[in-house]
Symmetry: C2
Subunit: 338 residues, 2 copies
């Protein structure tokens, strides 16, 4: 909390501005920046705001970092993560890293002090991955992963960014006495494809991946991650519920929301069986829309806020990438397209 | 959905504007209005915005209803509920009501078509309970309770407004193999006192009610609903966690958030044990603050979005009011103060 500039007394994530100076305290770590990975909802909001003008997106990201001392999108409330090289480790830091380690942070950029020194000159503002120079500060309670040698670091970063989704999906499926059916909205995306693979590995009876466009349907079918793949707009509650029920033979026991657009709460609730569970991973989720939507639909569903941290989540997500060819293929395609 | 004016295709809760005309379809019910009960977060936002000027609050509520065809606060996203008398029941309505029944709606005002005809002339804009004339429309999927004869209808309304909280708290406590410890933030309020009573009845090992001011501490102590009562600001994460741990001998297994102010997410997470559960009932909860807060604190907690609907929730909450003298006393005091 000593890095919180304003307002005083809050935790770093809630702060408007952090102190990003490079000198570290005894329990801190300084990382030399290599690349930021913006949260998908944040990047989409910025890209849409500026009509795809990359230079304007770059200027706004730079301005947010300079103003706030962290990358914290004020509209979406979300950040992303980073990779870099450990430059200095305070003598009292409990983090398992040494100078020279190449690492990824698994806590959000919204609470990570950040200073950029190259004006983001190496980024065209057209993708979520932002090469940059500068430094970031890690606290004693940060979560950080040393990047594995056997994987392209961009691949590791993309997986680690969403590694809470497969871990919580697996835990939710394991919580059912009978194997549940699982629907994943946004099944061809990063968190969605990992969630589908996790649901299957955890013993789901059947899975359906819901995607918005034919190109994603074809990619997800080729990846072979879901029992069924259907085309539907997750913002259309009635259409979505009908598509899921058609694919699974009834509403889903577990619905996992991985679509990074607003307005999917009601569809997810309506697509879920009474007594079922909705797991919201999208940072575009509205608490009020979910709470009032379930009440308004008289839907007895358990609604979980997707927690980005579970013990062992990074190792689990990387193991899915290594062992499930369809996951590896989708991530590789995505990187190639960036 | 036929009452949705704009945007087309969404469910009534998500709509900007509803058609509130009084003629009903075959599966609808028209209710003659008697009183609205504004959601606490909504009323607080309006009262603070207008600096306690009751006439200005009244004018804004009237303007929202006229503009949107429902009482849907655009800032908080929340509504409230109503009581009235059934005026007409369509021949195909599945709701268990007859003309002349005095009823309360258990679905939010944010999805209930509403027309006010008296300009809210009987309300001074200084309390959540709004006497008014006009009508509301109930859909086939609405949830409605006939008001019990043995209770003051204002008392029933106040309880029914928050009846999801005790039901979900009880279900959460029942989900633990060993009796859990339970902290309720805002323990002296409507949902908070019911949640404390429900936690005890469901078998919690120990409970702590957290309140912000000495007057509430004294009231909650007198009501005898919690094992411990502590004074703390739920927006101060470090102070809150220390208070809860001091009262319970360690962090809470279950933390229930019933405070209607923003910024309590991080404190609730920090006050909760690893492997524990946070239940967010406050409509002032930010999805992003909760999701990123847990990730940033590396906290392995299950976070539930408080669902206002569970089967049997109305009967359960009314039974707590009837059988737990401390609950009855707190609600009666609250009504007397309004």
């Amino acid at each position: 909390m000593r890095r919180v500039v304003e307002p005083a007394g809050v935790l770093p994530q809630a702060a408007y501005r952090l102190d990003a100076r490079g000198e570290i305290a005894a329990d801190e770590v300084r990382v030399r920046l290599e690349r930021l990975n913006l949260d998908a909802a944040s990047f989409r909001q910025l890209a849409e705001k500026h009509g795809g003008d990359g230079a304007a997106v770059r200027a706004e990201v730079l301005s947010i970092i300079q103003d706030r001392g962290k990358m914290h999108n004020p509209v979406t409330g979300s950040g992303g993560m980073l990779i870099g090289t450990v430059a200095e480790v305070g003598p009292e830091s409990p983090l398992p890293v040494r100078p020279g380690d190449r690492v990824a942070t698994l806590v959000s950029l919204t609470l990570t002090p950040l200073a950029v020194t190259d004006g983001l000159a190496g980024w065209d503002g057209r993708g979520e991955q932002v090469p940059c120079a500068g430094h970031a500060i890690l606290f004693a309670r940060s979560v950080v992963a040393v990047l594995p040698d056997d994987l392209d670091p961009r691949l590791s970063l993309a997986v680690l960014d969403v590694c809470g989704a497969p871990a919580l999906t697996a835990r939710t499926v394991h919580g059912y006495a009978e194997p549940p059916t699982v629907a994943v909205l946004g099944g061809a995306g990063k968190s969605g494809s990992l969630a589908l693979a996790a649901a299957r590995q955890a013993g789901a009876a059947r899975t359906v991946g819901v995607v918005p466009v034919p190109a994603e349907r074809d990619r997800l079918l080729a990846a072979g991650l879901a029992t069924e793949v259907v085309l539907a707009d997750a913002r259309d509650p009635v259409g979505l519920a009908a598509s899921v029920a058609g694919a699974l033979g009834g509403p889903a026991d577990v619905t996992v929301v991985c679509v990074d657009v607003p307005g999917c709460e009601h569809g997810a609730i309506l697509a879920t069986a009474d007594g079922g569970t909705v797991v919201f991973f999208s940072m575009a989720t509205s608490f009020a829309a979910a709470a009032l939507g379930a009440e308004g639909l008289a839907a007895d569903v358990t609604m979980l806020i997707g927690n980005g941290y579970l013990p062992g989540h990074a190792e689990y997500a990387l193991s899915l990438l290594r062992t499930v060819p369809g996951v590896r293929a989708l991530f590789a395609e995505r990187l190639a397209a960036d």
